[in-house]
């Protein structure tokens, strides 16, 4: 009855009997996270590191085999770094900058991501998802040892939920039978197929793409460069498009677009997978299959991510096609956004309404991601004859003319969204201030002494001053913002000034616990800062 739905790569949380299972009355937990994928575990880390007791229920005993996500973007790593988990990811991950685009048998062009200097993290690393998840769980273990109130229960499957105004009641299945739990807050991180969404009868609408992709992770002796190669209509005909990408441990990801009407079982037979790989790599290249799978893609999201005391995050709330690597990357941004808000509401520092802003902000993010990945998918798999004609016209022109290259869309790599015009935002009153650090944006990193700026931000409200005066701390209605006093001269490379001052001489930023800009001015203005701090906590705007 509790059979595994997938094989494990790492068995990290074996089933253990919990005293909750013997309790007379259901035990109530402040927060239960349903699902221990990357997003559920990151959620637990965020809350646990704030000191909020959090219980993760996962229906397996560890991390599933098979690398789904391989590209982890800078913002995702910055968030993981806030949780103290990014170092091993960076050590293990493969950094790449060069991409090549091919059409049939010719190279159309190549691009360099040209990473901007002065950031702690690269634009992207390639890392197998099981490693990403393992590093998060290892960080949980470390945090637990230091007293963080986090618990992960393996082989605990949520079977059903009952929803009340101020809590939920969960029926949980284990190898030893069922038990009942209660949660003040339930976070649904149970993936794209979200059983929780189903139990609550909630919507998940969008578009299914009529195509399938065969994914093969292989190891080979041949020495391909650490680059991203993308073929449109490759000469070898092994797929309508093909992607080759390097991962750690000498593993390569090959991704074949194989059409809609395919016999999955047949296609996944080793000899058939090898037939495609041989066509692409040539007969003399030796390789071993590590993992294969077939995916179909959809772009869809829930109408609302918050339903009273139940909140959805990650794939359960929104699903995108993998072009552009926006799944796990955006799920991490959900956690980043939700963690501090839920923490403040639970501690009584902010009204319940603050949680509605999670839905508004992350839905905005999801829509941007869905838009981008839908456009990529439409370019890669044209849906009509004329769309195919235009796609190939772009590829033809791109070989010769620079202007057409930006139109080539083999996936727009994940960048975090800016919460433009959303309710938590305060004034943007920094004349000449840079666009990239406008109100609503995630703070851009910058060098600072021997380190970087971002590790000094986040987890609390910060008043970042650049060549401006301000008090060391401002407390407003139970919430304190503390000052980080900087000078443009602190960064001799000029990046800090370029990213935070622009044409201005001085700046005061109010920065949220998730490192997004809440408001900014050219100088300290106490009433304005207090009002912005209240607004950023969901307490409304002064009229």
């Amino acid at each position: 009855m509790l059979d595994d739905r997938y094989a494990l790569a790492f068995r990290l949380y074996p089933y253990e009997h919990s005293p909750d299972q013997d309790a007379e009355a259901p035990v109530r937990h402040p927060v239960v996270v349903q699902g221990g994928g990357p997003i559920g575990v990151a959620m637990a880390l965020d809350l646990g590191l704030q000191g909020i007791p959090v219980l993760v229920l996962d229906d397996h005993e560890g991390i599933g085999q098979g690398s789904r996500a391989i590209c982890f973007a800078k913002r995702c790593l910055e968030i993981a770094d806030r949780y103290g988990a990014a170092e091993p990811m960076l050590d293990k991950g493969v950094v790449w900058n060069l991409g090549k685009v091919f059409h049939e048998d010719r190279k159309v062009y190549e691009f360099n991501l040209l990473p901007e200097a002065g950031h702690r993290f690269p634009a992207f690393i390639n890392l197998q998802q099981p490693y990403f998840e393992k590093f998060l769980v290892e960080r949980v273990r470390e945090a637990q040892a230091a007293g963080a109130p986090i618990e992960i229960r393996g082989k605990n499957r949520v079977q059903s939920v009952e929803i009340f105004d101020d809590h939920t009641r969960l029926q949980v299945e284990t190898p030893e039978g069922g038990y009942v739990l209660e949660a003040d807050w339930l976070i649904g991180c149970d993936g794209a197929g979200s059983p929780l969404r189903g139990m609550m009868g909630l919507d998940f609408d969008g578009r299914v793409f009529q195509d399938s992709f065969l994914i093969a992770d292989i190891t080979m002796k041949a020495d391909f460069p650490t680059e991203r190669w993308f073929w449109f209509e490759p000469w070898h005909k092994a797929g309508a498009s093909t992607l080759l990408h390097k991962q750690p441990d000498g593993v390569w990801r090959v991704d074949f677009q194989i059409g809609w009407d395919v016999d999955r079982k047949e296609e996944l037979k080793e000899e058939n997978v090898r037939r495609r790989l041989d066509a692409m790599l040539g007969p003399d290249v030796e390789y071993e299959l590590v993992w294969t799978s077939i995916y179909t893609f959809q772009c869809r999201r829930m109408k609302k991510f918050r339903h009273g005391r139940v909140i959805f995050a990650g794939d359960s709330a929104h699903q995108v096609s993998p072009f552009g690597a926006r799944g796990a990357n955006s799920g991490m941004q959900d956690v980043d956004n939700l963690g501090w808000k839920l923490g403040m509401v639970i501690r009584g520092e902010a009204p319940d309404a603050l949680l509605d802003s999670y839905c508004a902000e992350r839905r905005h993010g999801a829509d941007e991601n869905i838009l981008n990945s839908t456009r990529s998918t439409d370019f890669i798999t044209p849906k009509s004859k004329i769309s195919h004609v235009f796609r190939n016209a772009v590829l033809d022109l791109a070989q010769e003319y620079e202007f057409a290259r930006p139109l080539v869309n083999s996936g727009r790599l994940s960048v975090p969204c800016v919460y433009d015009g959303l309710p938590l935002n305060g004034p943007d009153a920094l004349p000449g201030g840079p666009l990239r650090s406008r109100v609503g944006s995630p703070c851009p990193d910058a060098p600072l002494g021997n380190g970087f700026l971002l590790p000094q931000l986040g987890g609390r409200f910060t008043i970042l001053t650049v060549d401006a005066e301000a008090p060391d701390a401002v407390a407003e209605d139970g919430v304190t913002a503390t000052r980080l006093a900087l000078s443009a001269a602190d960064d001799t490379t000029g990046a800090l000034a370029e990213r935070y001052l622009g044409a201005a001489m001085s700046a005061v930023y109010l920065i949220r616990p998730d490192q997004h800009v809440a408001a900014r001015w050219d100088r300290y203005d106490e009433p304005a800062l207090r009002a912005a701090l209240r607004a950023a906590c969901g307490k409304g705007h002064d009229r």
Partner: protein, 65 residues
């Protein structure tokens, strides 16, 4: 005010028109469609202005009779 130029703007219209048709000489339907697509992309890039492009798309759309 429409931002799209909808009054005659091409000197030697007859000459341009015949060049346009001649560009398709000897092409199959598929090759012609490809040429048209390339031409549209080149012209669109030349225009560049997103609002003008949107107005042009609107103007080109079939009108209900």
């Amino acid at each position: 005010m429409t931002i799209l130029t909808t009054t005659p703007n091409i000197p030697d219209g007859d000459g341009f028109y015949s060049d346009l048709i001649a560009a398709h000489d000897g092409l199959s339907d598929d090759e012609s469609a490809a040429l048209n697509a390339r031409l549209i992309l080149i012209l669109a890039n030349q225009i560049g202005d997103r609002a003008v492009l949107t107005a042009a798309l609107d103007a080109a759309r079939p009108k209900p009779r």
